[in-house]
């Protein structure tokens, strides 16, 4: 099962290395990691998307993350009301006459063309990972020349429902 886990960490040198090293050593399967500054100076936020086999593995993962001295808080937010976004840049081939067609495909996804050249155009898409994935598969027939993704970044919504009735309300 895929889980989204966030961690607040101290901004010290080697923190990312320490954490990825621990994940590697303990054989956790990471789909993506995204890291950046947080609202507090000196603290960074990490978002992990992890494939874990069972609850025991998941518990081990959060415990091992918590055990890291630079880690201040760890949360598994998969089953909560969250906002989660990923950014992808996709460069597709094709000359002028395809541009209109591609524009038509990306419009409903609210993606945008951010670079055009004689024989390629680059599309930026932001959204939930499944939306990003859907657009990428639609673009695939046009010949993807280059693709890069940021990995998921996420946090809790401002308001949480009183009781979570739907488990795993967010699907990746």
């Amino acid at each position: 099962m895929k889980r989204i886990i966030t961690a607040t960490v101290q901004d010290r040198s080697g923190v990312l290395n320490r954490i990825t090293g621990m994940l590697y050593k303990r054989q956790f399967n990471i789909d993506s990691i995204s890291v950046g500054n947080s609202e507090i100076e000196g603290l960074s936020k990490m978002t992990f998307v992890v494939e874990v086999g069972d609850h025991q593995k998941l518990e081990q993962l959060t415990k091992q993350l918590n055990k890291q001295i630079d880690v201040i808080k760890v949360s598994d937010i998969t089953d909560k009301a969250i906002v989660a976004r990923e950014l992808a840049l996709v460069k597709v081939g094709g000359s002028g006459h395809l541009h209109a067609e591609i524009q038509g495909i990306i419009a409903p996804f609210r993606a945008s063309v951010i670079d055009v050249s004689k024989d390629s155009l680059t599309i930026q898409i932001t959204g939930k990972p499944n939306k990003v994935e859907a657009l990428i598969s639609l673009l695939r027939p046009y010949g993807i020349k280059e693709l890069t993704k940021t990995g998921v970044t996420a946090f809790l919504r401002g308001q949480q429902p009183k009781q979570v009735t739907e488990i795993n309300s967010f699907t990746i």
Partner: protein, 573 residues
């Protein structure tokens, strides 16, 4: 004083450096022994040691591995962090085995490594190694000092992290320009570690749950690990076990946390543990693990580990709970605090006379056994005599292998912190340098280092150290001219193909000892053992005793790899 004279004095005075600051922080941390080896990148620190006439001892090992194992031995017997200093590059990489060993066995160490100057870090400079990268997976935490003003805080944090919570090794990497930097920095006591708050006191609800489970249990069993020792909780454990008459099994590293000769003690559990202890684990209905980590050498095949038991686990490290064995009652706490809480809670313990009798009969009916030797010495019998002649009061350090298991089986440890062995990593070469640290930490105690002929040859250069300081360490070489445990496994599981496990070119250990100026003895007959040991243990100085034992002796009983804890072989003759 004339102005010129004063100016001249100011000019010639040695200015205060980062190294002086380091020494000040070590003095503040109450360090009394520093294990180290000099080299280029730590010359400023060694110069400061010389200039400051530091009020602590520096012990010069003959290889950095000797320093760090000695620091581990020191940490084990004193409970204080062992402190190590080594130079950059090869000096630091020579520490890796010991750092990993301390990590696996949760020993508090603070390790200072020199580093090339900040300006050349990352250029593959002379004697540069990425010690931060190398030690990240094998330390509890590590630091590289980027600014001399951070040095006191970092050292303070390092001692705090190493010795609190679940103890472990912490590396502080100090670039040469930092240790040489002129500083006016004052020593400060402050530090800030918001992400490190070990839970010492147990959750009261979990204690209630545990007390309730104990009240319902018909076949309870305590499993005591090294966490009891690092929490200094041996007294509480004894009081708890005796109050409720609970049988106790020990892990290898937990030996001594409960008196081995106590009638409630089932002895060591695990691969070469006692039948009674392992069957206790197999048959119990409540297993209370206190400070052990359910290592695979303890559990055997986990499918058969405590199959009918409710498992409760007290550990200061939450990540250990449920890691290997699923746990019904987790208690995150220091063992001492948890046991205190249990002692004050009301437990309506039922009488488990039948259960205790059953365990006792296993203990009586399936004791350890060994053959008597007609030629050379039976190693098991030798270890029994070591126990007897030392009145069970020695601090025993060992390497890894057959001699280690025989020492664990035949030496009943009644007091805590007298058993110094490499459990998790299984490090050959550990035992003898660890004895040096143990003796320095406990100068008035008899320190016996039981080593194999293989492991001893990995670190025997430290004989210079015991000679230099006249440390009265007694080195008992259990010499079977083989890498005994390897040979045993080759006999049992590789159809006697003794691939590279026989040591036919051992040195003459007596002459070797003598060449270091140390008394050397050799015994190859059981009739001479007791007299020799009496002589050796009463001699005021170091002795190397080459004990020639039967080569083909095996360690029994045993749980074969992949087998369950109830499937021991070699239980009876």
């Amino acid at each position: 004083m004339k102005v010129e004279a004063k100016q001249e004095m100011e000019r010639t005075k040695v200015l205060r450096t980062g190294s002086d600051l380091l020494i000040e922080t070590l003095v503040d941390a109450e360090v009394d022994t520093l294990f180290g080896y000099p080299g280029g990148a730590v010359l400023p620190i060694y110069d400061a040691l010389y200039r400051n006439k530091a009020p602590f001892e520096h012990v010069l090992s003959r290889h950095e591995q000797g320093s760090i194992h000695a620091a581990e031995g020191y940490a084990r017997v004193t409970g204080k962090p062992g402190v190590v200093l080594a130079t950059s590059g090869p000096g630091a990489t020579n520490l890796i085995t010991g750092i990993t060993d301390a990590m696996m066995d949760s020993l508090p160490l603070v390790i200072f490594t020199g580093q090339v100057a900040n300006s050349v870090i990352g250029t593959d400079a002379f004697q540069e190694a990425d010690i931060m990268g190398i030690t990240t997976p094998i330390t509890k935490y590590n630091y590289q000092v980027k600014n001399v003003s951070d040095l006191p805080r970092i050292v303070k944090e390092a001692f705090h992290v190493a010795s609190t919570g679940r103890p472990g090794p912490v590396v502080v990497d100090i670039p040469k320009n930092i240790s040489a930097a002129i500083t006016t920095e004052k020593f400060e006591n402050d530090f800030y570690l918001p992400g490190y708050q070990p839970t010492k006191t147990p959750n009261p609800l979990q204690i209630v749950k545990l007390a309730d489970a104990l009240s319902r249990s018909k076949r309870p069993l305590l499993l005591a690990g090294a966490g009891v020792l690092s929490a200094n909780a041996a007294e509480e454990l004894k009081e708890f076990a005796e109050k409720y008459q609970l049988p106790v099994a020990n892990t290898l590293l937990g030996l001594g946390s409960f008196p081995g000769s106590n009638s409630l003690s089932l002895g060591m559990a695990g691969m070469h543990g006692m039948y009674a202890a392992n069957m206790g684990i197999y048959e119990c209905d409540l297993l209370l693990n206190i400070g052990a980590r359910f290592d695979d050498r303890l559990t055997g095949n986990i499918e058969h580990f405590a199959p009918n038991a409710k498992v409760a686990h007290i550990d200061i490290d939450p990540a250990e709970i449920g890691k290997n064995i699923s746990t019904a009652i987790p208690v995150v706490a220091d063992a001492k605090e948890a046991l205190k809480a249990l002692l004050t809670s009301s437990i309506g313990m039922p009488d488990h006379k039948v259960w205790k009798e059953r365990l006792q009969s296993n203990k009586t009916n399936y004791p350890l056994w060994h053959e008597k030797s007609d030629e050379l010495i039976s190693p098991q019998w030798l270890l029994k005599q070591v126990y007897r002649v030392s009145n069970g009061e020695a601090i025993v350090t060992t390497d890894v292998g057959q001699h280690q298991m025989w020492a664990a089986q035949y030496y009943a440890f009644d007091k805590p912190n007298r058993w110094v062995t490499s459990g998790g990593l299984g490090t050959m070469g550990f035992g003898f340098p660890a004895a040096i640290g143990a003796q320095l930490g406990a100068p008035n105690d008899l320190v016996v280092s039981v080593v194999g002929d293989g492991g001893f040859q990995m670190t025997l250069q430290e004989l210079s150290v015991i000679k230099e300081r006249n440390l009265p360490v007694k080195i008992i070489i259990v010499n079977n001219e083989a890498l005994g445990m390897v040979r045993q496994w080759q006999e049992s599981f590789y159809e006697e193909r003794y691939s590279e496990s026989l040591l036919s070119q051992n040195p003459d250990f007596v002459k070797l000892a003598e060449s270091y100026g140390i008394r050397g003895l050799k015994i190859d007959n059981e009739n001479d053992v007791v007299e020799t040991l009496e002589d050796v243990f009463s001699y005021d100085g170091p002795v190397v005793v080459d004990c020639r034992v039967v080569q083909l002796e095996c360690v029994y009983p045993m749980i074969a790899p992949g087998k369950g804890i109830h499937e021991m072989i070699g239980v009876t003759k």
